[in-house]
Symmetry: C2
């Protein structure tokens, strides 16, 4: 497949069509790691678009890390696997789908409680405001994997408690019924030991290692919409990360506590 047939009619942006064609060629292995992409000039003349448009397409591929550019040399396919999308906020179902496992959820509790302590703090609520609390046992391929407790301000989704089926996707419901699209989440990961009720629910011995996640999800405007605390079995769950080395442009200097 070569770079061809750009639709100039305007239904889809030109740079997006080019980006998708290039991405497809990479995904199919037609362009392999280290291979040079067509130069901006070449794309420009071959497809009859301006160089800036071709450039925009390539830059958007650079942003997700599957391509890199070198001044004076060209743009190249990076040698990184694209098997997984790292750094994503994923729902449990999405996560399981990515790793090819069959997800299942068993509700452990679904009620409305006043926000208190860390929950109120994380969601910027006054201590008396109501939150919807949803506790679920997460199951992968019939094996208990983790326990999740979600807290969502009731004012954001008034009748969620009445209409939501706790076995389905919370994120999908928030998006479809309330127009709440989660854009970013901050997550703290700790390691600990399973004990008591949690060990029993997860069917592991007391003292087994577990991951403890604390996650706050935000919409793009920055408002917190969800606080989640969860415990996952460490023998059946691991975290895969892709880290990037930043070129200290936005390095936030430490507050001068020591000086």
């Amino acid at each position: 497949m070569e770079l061809t047939c750009i639709d100039h009619s305007g239904v889809e942006p030109l740079y997006y069509q080019i980006q998708q064609q290039l991405f497809e060629r990479i995904r199919l292995g037609e362009l392999k790691a280290g291979d040079p992409l067509p130069s901006e000039q070449e794309i420009s003349t071959r497809l009859g678009v301006s160089r800036m448009t071709a450039r925009l397409a390539i830059k958007s591929l650079c942003e997700v890390g599957i391509v890199y550019s070198k001044q004076g040399k060209g743009s190249f396919v990076s040698g990184l696997k694209l098997e997984k999308n790292f750094r994503q906020v994923l729902s449990f179902s999405e996560e399981m789908a990515q790793s090819g496992r069959r997800p299942e959820s068993r509700p452990l509790g679904f009620d409305i409680v006043p926000a208190e302590g860390e929950v109120a703090l994380a969601l910027s609520l006054k201590p008396q405001e109501k939150v919807i609390r949803l506790r679920r046992l997460r199951i992968a391929d019939s094996v208990p994997l983790g326990i999740e407790s979600s807290y969502i301000p009731e004012k954001l989704c008034p009748d969620l408690k009445a209409t939501f089926d706790p076995r389905t996707s919370l994120y999908q419901t928030l998006s479809a019924r309330y127009g709440i699209q989660i854009a970013i989440a901050d997550e703290v990961v700790e390691a600990g030991l399973a004990k008591g009720e949690k060990a029993r629910l997860l069917r592991i011995a007391k003292g087994s290692p577990v991951f403890i996640f604390t996650r706050i999800s935000y919409v793009q405007q920055g408002q917190a919409v969800e606080y989640v605390k969860s415990t996952y079995r460490a023998d059946r769950y691991k975290i895969v990360n892709r880290l990037v080395r930043v070129k200290h442009r936005f390095a936030v200097q430490e507050d001068a506590k020591s000086s």
Copy 2:
């Protein structure tokens, strides 16, 4: 502080100067969460640059998540904390500096061994090729924090063994002496229990929870340069992540295993 004084002499790119000015105003709290940034038009006329240049400055702020744009409305400061840089490849010293702790390293071993098993696989080496192995105890504020074993192909840095002081920064040396700049790393995080020698070195009880990191670092071209396996105390170490919800443009569909 207002948008002022752009240096047109060409030492620093214009869009970069503008980006830095805006970033500084946000960092100082002069522009708070939810506040609109000056419009592209306004920046353009006020500073005497073209709108595309102003746009480039704003877009680069969007990329790191501290600003978002809405067609027809404007660009706004997002409500996200920028206290930390998330998801970076950091050296131990850099990481400690960010959290305001005093780093220290005690070498536990420094030798050259043949690559075997997982190490050879990760670094794409033939089983007989030599790797430099460096084991270090990582200490923060005089408290043992973790044990790290790094493996680096000897051919990439021939006389490292002879010249490198194991108490200093490995990344800095790789960059300064060999021109090896690490650009990306893939990391797997597991949770486990401390036992035997590791528990003793870390001064924790056997059976205490620990993080187990397995990291492979790459240069931008994709070649692996370092394999690290490390064990960190979970009572003194936690992971902080920022996740983004991607707009399924690059979603890699699952291999059709089920169909």
